[in-house]
């Protein structure tokens, strides 16, 4: 029993990290149909910039804020300099641009920062919380809480605000969006800023648990992508559930079956889900009449 609980805690911790990354994907995807493979780099930057600012003497909360803002600004720059000029290019070309951006940011990070592994203190100390016989780190609660807050925020954004709907409209039909007066460039800028900011936030929250280094981005991007797809790309609910599910499956597999093949099991589950639900768990089937 306590064993199971411990596995669940482990799964929730890891799942929350995945979910946060997956949530970061949704906005850019919703605005442009592009899966931004540089999303993981935003997460890396969130952690690395915070660490450096913290090292430089800034208080941790301020350092985190700096990291989030700087990363959001970088997201905007990426959009302005690389995505917008390529307007109208096929989606695969845009994806390659984001992969290029990911390589570039990683290359830059090892110059600007270093190649060491870093961490900064957990927000509420390291004393584990005991629940029945199991324990969980306070920082895990921060990550889980962060994922939930971001989810609620995004959900409200897309369903309750006009600008949120403008984001959806832009990806659905860019031409029509312009015709109804939506500044699609602004929507894109906003999406990149938000996505990058959420990515950085993920990095800030997760680093005390996962540690960070210039090359952690790809791993995050991959798991986040898998989580987002499992839940259904573009849907915040999907990202949240998908991320947590993968975390839980991995932890339970590691606990009960085989730690070596825990990722394999996660991917097998993804394959199975997609087999029966080709749009992921919560993905809506796009209705195109013929």
């Amino acid at each position: 029993m306590s064993e199971l609980l411990q596995f669940l805690f482990s799964g929730l911790t890891v799942g929350a990290v995945y979910a946060l990354v997956a949530l970061g994907f949704t906005i850019i995807y919703n605005a442009s149909d592009v899966v931004n493979f540089a999303q993981g780099e935003f997460v890396m930057l969130g952690g690395m910039i915070t660490w450096f600012a913290y090292q430089a003497g800034l208080p941790l909360p301020l350092a985190a804020l700096v990291a989030i803002l700087a990363t959001a600004a970088l997201g905007v720059t990426l959009n302005k300099l690389a995505i917008e000029p390529a307007r109208g290019a096929p989606v695969v070309s845009l994806i390659i641009i984001t992969i290029g951006a990911s390589v570039f940011i990683q290359g830059a990070a090892q110059q600007v920062f270093d190649k060491q592994i870093h961490s900064f203190p957990a927000f509420s100390g390291d004393t584990p919380l005991r629940v029945l016989e199991a324990t969980i780190q306070p920082q895990s609660l921060w990550v889980i809480g962060g994922a939930l807050v971001v989810f609620v925020g995004l959900w409200l954004f897309f369903t309750r605000t006009l600008i949120g709907r403008a984001v959806l409209a832009t990806s659905n039909n860019r031409l029509a969006a312009q015709l109804v007066g939506i500044n699609t460039n602004f929507v894109m800028t906003l999406s990149f800023a938000l996505s990058a900011g959420i990515g950085a936030l993920a990095g800030v929250l997760a680093t005390p648990i996962t540690l960070t280094a210039y090359n952690v981005g790809i791993g995050f991007a991959l798991k986040g992508f898998a989580g987002a797809m499992l839940g259904g790309m573009g849907n915040p609910k999907g990202a949240l559930v998908g991320g947590f599910l993968i975390g839980l499956i991995e932890a339970l597999t590691a606990g009960y079956l085989s730690s070596t093949y825990k990722e394999a099991v996660a991917f097998v589950v993804i394959l199975l889900v997609l087999f029966f639900m080709p749009q992921g768990l919560f993905g809506s089937k796009s209705t195109e009449r013929v």
């Binding site: 899966v35 000029p85 090892q110 991959l222 080709p278």
Partner: protein, 319 residues
């Protein structure tokens, strides 16, 4: 002057490149780079068929390269097959696996297909990584010599290892390109491109979309498998990296960078992306930075890919 068909032109250009380039090679190292370009070109030609023609994305094709490569490492030891036959076995396994995996996952579209193929690739590389007893684990395993060079020596043709693999891979690439180009203009190729345009319309003109996609998937898996075998045989050593996610991404990037819809373009992309790290060594520390930058700039300014965009620009000037 009779106009060359695009196909003959492509093949001629390729053949000329393979044959003429060595005249300008200052050292044996260039044969190695050439051979790598050809191997990558071959793998990427498979991506052209799957992604360029049929519009299906795969982020797991390195898995097939891994199977092809490890077949050459394992079959000679465990089954006593000669390495060449081992490569054929790799092709059979890759093809069969592509067939089995492709059936369920090719129903998926776009990113969903991407994540499913990604999962497949990861499963393969995970097995290669973790089944240490069989595969040698992450440290890799030695691949027996192909033995063909020795045979050539017996026939009086004594060439260096580098030269041998250069020409061997060059020929393989030419054959691969020839087949892919045949396909493009053939009824099957047209049907593939049609289903890319509209699956529903393709169905109503009688195209068995599911089957055709599967065929494209299997064919492209075979390409990847052969490329993996060639790489393993040439390196005489193989690690699970060949099957890794990054290698899959690399293949797709090469194809898209060069122009996924065109065989020559994709091979060009393979060339650029293989050469680039070699050239960028002068930037040492800044290598990744520059690599990323080059990728972005190329896609921004040559959005349809290197070759198609350049051709379009050239043609624009003609008119």
């Amino acid at each position: 002057m009779p106009r060359l068909s695009a196909k003959s032109a492509t093949l001629l250009v390729l053949a000329a490149l393979v044959v003429v380039s060595p005249l300008f090679f200052p050292s044996g190292y260039y044969y190695r780079v050439g051979a790598l370009i050809f191997v990558n070109g071959l793998a990427v030609t498979g991506i052209v068929i799957l992604t360029g023609y049929a519009g299906q994305i795969s982020l797991g094709h390195a898995g097939f390269a891994g199977i092809g490569g490890y077949a050459c490492a394992l079959a000679p030891v465990h089954l006593g097959l000669p390495p060449a036959l081992a490569a054929v076995l790799g092709v059979l396994i890759s093809g069969a696996l592509a067939y089995l995996v492709g059936r369920p996952i090719l129903r998926l579209k776009g990113y969903y297909l991407a994540v499913a193929t990604l999962g497949f690739g990861i499963l393969v590389s995970m097995v290669l990584n973790n089944e240490r007893q069989l595969t040698g684990g992450p440290d890799g395993i030695i691949v027996p010599d192909l033995g063909l060079r020795g045979l050539l020596k017996d026939w009086g043709l004594n060439i260096s290892n580098g030269e041998f693999w250069y020409f061997f891979c060059g020929i393989a690439l030419l054959i691969g390109a020839w087949i892919a180009l045949n396909l493009r203009q053939s009824p099957t190729g047209r049907a593939l491109r049609a289903l890319h345009g509209s699956e529903i319309a393709a169905q109503t003109v009688g195209i068995d979309v599911a089957r055709l996609k599967l065929q494209a998937f299997v064919i492209s898996a075979v390409y990847a498998s052969v490329a993996g075998s060639l790489l393993a045989l040439q390196n005489k050593f193989i690690t699970p990296d060949v099957a890794g996610f990054m290698h899959s991404i690399e293949m797709v990037t090469m194809a898209v960078l060069g122009g996924a819809g065109s065989v020559l373009g994709a091979i060009l992309g393979a060339g650029v992306l293989t050469l680039l790290p070699q050239v960028l060594t002068v930037f040492a520390e800044f290598e990744q930075l520059v690599l990323g930058l080059v990728m972005m700039l190329m896609m921004i300014f040559l959005r349809e890919g290197l070759l198609p965009s350049l051709l379009r620009k050239l043609r624009g000037r003609d008119e």
